[in-house]
Every structure is written in structure tokens, then in C-alpha cells.
Symmetry: C2
Subunit: 225 residues, 2 copies
């Protein structure tokens, strides 16, 4: 059973808990566990099957990787965000190779697969919730297809630079150009070229291992073109 702090946290983020019977809710808290992950650890991939995960503290991303090491982020999870792809083994028709990895040291609440499966099977409230999450992920994936195919790279990069500053809550962001390339599904050289262009235009200032936003309005204009 997870500690009271986690229970309070779950109650505030998982709307279906309120609708459940007292016994079901206690069952949920009894079966959930809290796990610690260091930065860059794999929480779930094609070979593992963690179950439903909720980010208690930290930051997580889901990505697709290619055989030759290229990556692209599908979505990112912040505090209170839920991932059900990590329970894909117990979901019919989910057959793909998504990796879930921590971006910061993280504490993750996990409802292990066998219990997740039982809840989804028997509880209509959690079933509704999983359907809503799945729809959200499908929207994210379709948006990503639209972005990668039809959006020019300056727009995508400007969007990422602002989003990352927003996540970090600061206009100075420590992130390597390799990491940005892996989020955006492209080569490091492509990121470098565009970051240098943004710097020359006075939108950002580059330093080793990161950037500082100088003109967020100009970046927002590019992102929203």
C-alpha cells in the first residue's frame, strides 16, 4: 500500500477514484506501489510491462526509436500525468515499440499489469478513463504526424524551445542539441543549423549544453505561423 501523501495525490489527479466504491478504491491503493527511477532509466519498453503508471514527481517521456538510433518523442508526462501504454501487454491490439523513459529523477506510482487488467475488465469508471487517455494519446500521435510531415522545422523547433522553457519554468534551459534532435526525430546537425540561425536573429543565446530565450515573442510568431 502506498503512503498517505500518494493517496491524496492520486485522489486529486484520478477523477474515476471518486466514483469507485470504497472497497474498490482501497483495493486500488493497496495494489499500487511507488517506485524510484534515476534520470534516463527505462520504465517500460516492448519487453517489460509495468502496468498503468502515474508520475508522482519528476518528468517522463514516451518515444519511438529506430534501429540506427534515431528517436522521436510521442508525448511527455509531468506530475499527475498518466500513461497506459506501459500496460500495453494487457491491452488488446496494442502492438508497437514505444519506450517510456525518465527525463529527470522521478517517483512513479505504478498499478501493476495484473491489477490494471482486472480493474479495466471489471470497473466501468476506470474503463471510461482509459478510453479517454487512449483517445488523448491518439490525438497526440496524429498531431505529431501532422507536425512532422506538414510543418516546417523552424516552426517545430521554435515550439519545442518555448515548450521546454515552459516545462522548466525558466528562460534558461539546459538541454543538449542531441537531446532536442531525439525529441524531434531528426539529426543533431539539423538542430544545430536552425539553433545557430535563431541565435543570429537574436531569438536565443546558445551556451554549452543549453540555450537562453532572448525574444520569446519572435519564437512564438514562428511557432504559430
Amino acid at each position: 500500500m502506498i503512503k498517505q501523501e500518494c493517496i491524496d495525490f492520486l485522489k486529486s489527479y484520478l477523477p474515476f477514484l471518486k466514483k469507485m466504491s470504497f472497497d474498490d478504491r482501497q483495493d486500488f491503493f493497496n495494489k499500487a506501489v511507488l517506485r524510484n527511477y534515476a534520470t534516463g532509466e527505462i520504465i517500460s519498453n516492448n519487453e517489460t510491462c509495468s502496468g498503468m503508471i502515474i508520475v508522482f514527481k519528476g518528468q517522463v517521456r514516451a518515444f519511438i526509436g529506430s534501429k540506427n538510433g534515431k528517436q522521436i518523442s510521442i508525448y511527455r508526462l509531468l506530475e499527475g500525468d498518466v500513461c497506459v501504454l506501459s500496460a500495453s501487454c494487457v491491452m488488446n491490439n496494442l502492438t508497437f515499440d514505444v519506450t517510456i523513459e525518465t527525463e529527470k529523477d522521478s517517483q512513479i506510482i505504478v498499478l501493476p499489469s495484473e491489477h490494471f487488467e482486472r480493474f479495466v475488465k471489471n470497473n466501468t469508471f476506470i474503463k471510461d478513463y482509459v478510453l479517454a487517455i487512449m483517445s488523448q494519446r491518439l490525438s497526440d500521435a496524429l498531431f505529431l504526424i501532422e507536425q512532422t510531415l506538414f510543418s516546417s522545422f523552424d516552426k517545430r523547433l521554435a515550439d519545442f524551445i518555448l515548450e521546454q522553457a515552459n516545462i522548466d519554468g525558466a528562460n534558461v534551459v539546459k538541454i543538449t542539441q542531441d537531446t532536442i534532435a531525439n525529441h524531434l526525430g531528426t539529426a543533431r546537425e539539423v538542430v544545430t543549423r536552425m539553433m545557430n540561425y535563431f541565435e543570429n536573429e537574436g531569438y536565443i543565446e546558445l551556451f554549452r549544453g543549453g540555450y537562453k530565450i532572448i525574444n520569446d515573442k519572435a519564437l512564438a510568431d514562428i511557432a504559430n505561423l
Copy 2:
């Protein structure tokens, strides 16, 4: 109420019908309607909200379009295939711009939105089914991201050439290079260049408005590289 032929068809393709009560099943058949569409007609897009659709006869595709007219197919629906994105208006968190369009003259069985919504809300069997379909669509979308970003275009085109012949059940396929480009999310010139290469290698023979497969083994080798 749809005709008996459609009822028999639905019974063979929709596994949840068997599990429903007699009254619910009759209600489903009573509310379903059969609609005719000509080739190239839009069944559903961001502005319309048809409900759940099942292809009775014909062929349909779901695609994303860009502002400047580029397109990419997300998935294709053949006889017996079900689409729930066409009911996105009644599904929470589904916010994207997918268009559902006929590729051939088609007969489509539709369960209109308001009834679809009611069934998904109240019936656990149809809820399970929608969750399974949604997972399948998410898998399709993630596979497409992997393909478009990490797979070289010769592989994707060889795969499409073979898949299309398979759908048509013939090694002579009537399809324009513009249409292929719209399925694969690229420019017509890119398709033309690669098709000409395939022809020079003796894999296909081009004619106005289509192609004939000459060496399916070579194409399969490229597709599976």
C-alpha cells in the same frame, strides 16, 4: 432499421453484438442506417460527426491533410472494418482533423453519434470494443510515425505498391501517382522518381494512370529490408 442482409453482416463482424442482451441488440439494429457514397465523397471530417461507421461494401480511407493540400493516409477500411474516429465529437479528448473519404463507391452502415454515445456510455461490451479499436488506431498511427520518419521511401513505396495490389486482388493497379503521393504524405515528383527507378529495375511496368507488378519478390525484398 437496416435490412436483414446488413444485420447478418454486422453479426459476423461485430463480436460484441453476441454478448449484448436481445433488446440492446435490436435497439442497435433499429438505430443503424445504411448510406450510399460515391467514390471520393467525404463521410466525415472535423465539421461533421457521423457516428460509428462500418464498411458494408466498398473502400474507405482516413487521412490527414495540410493547409497546402498535402495528404497522408492514416489507415484504410475495407469490408467489415469499423471506424470510431468518425464519432470523435462524442468522444472526450479526441481533437484532431482526420478526414474519412471513400476510395470506391461504398455502402456504409452508420450508428449515428447520439446512439453511439448512449451505447458506449451504458454498454460494457461495446465500450470494450471501442477501446480495442482505439488501441488498434493508436498502433497504426505510431507505426506510421515510425515508417515516415525512420523508413526510407523506397521501402514505403514498395510496401504500398504490393499492399494496393493485394487490396485490389490483381497485379495491375489503376492508381495515379498523385493519389499515391497523397497516401504516403509526399510530393508527386518524389513518387514519380522512385516509380521510374522501380520500372528501370524491372520491378514494375508503368502505364498512364497505373502500374503492373512484374517482380513482386524484388518489391517484397525492398519492403522488408
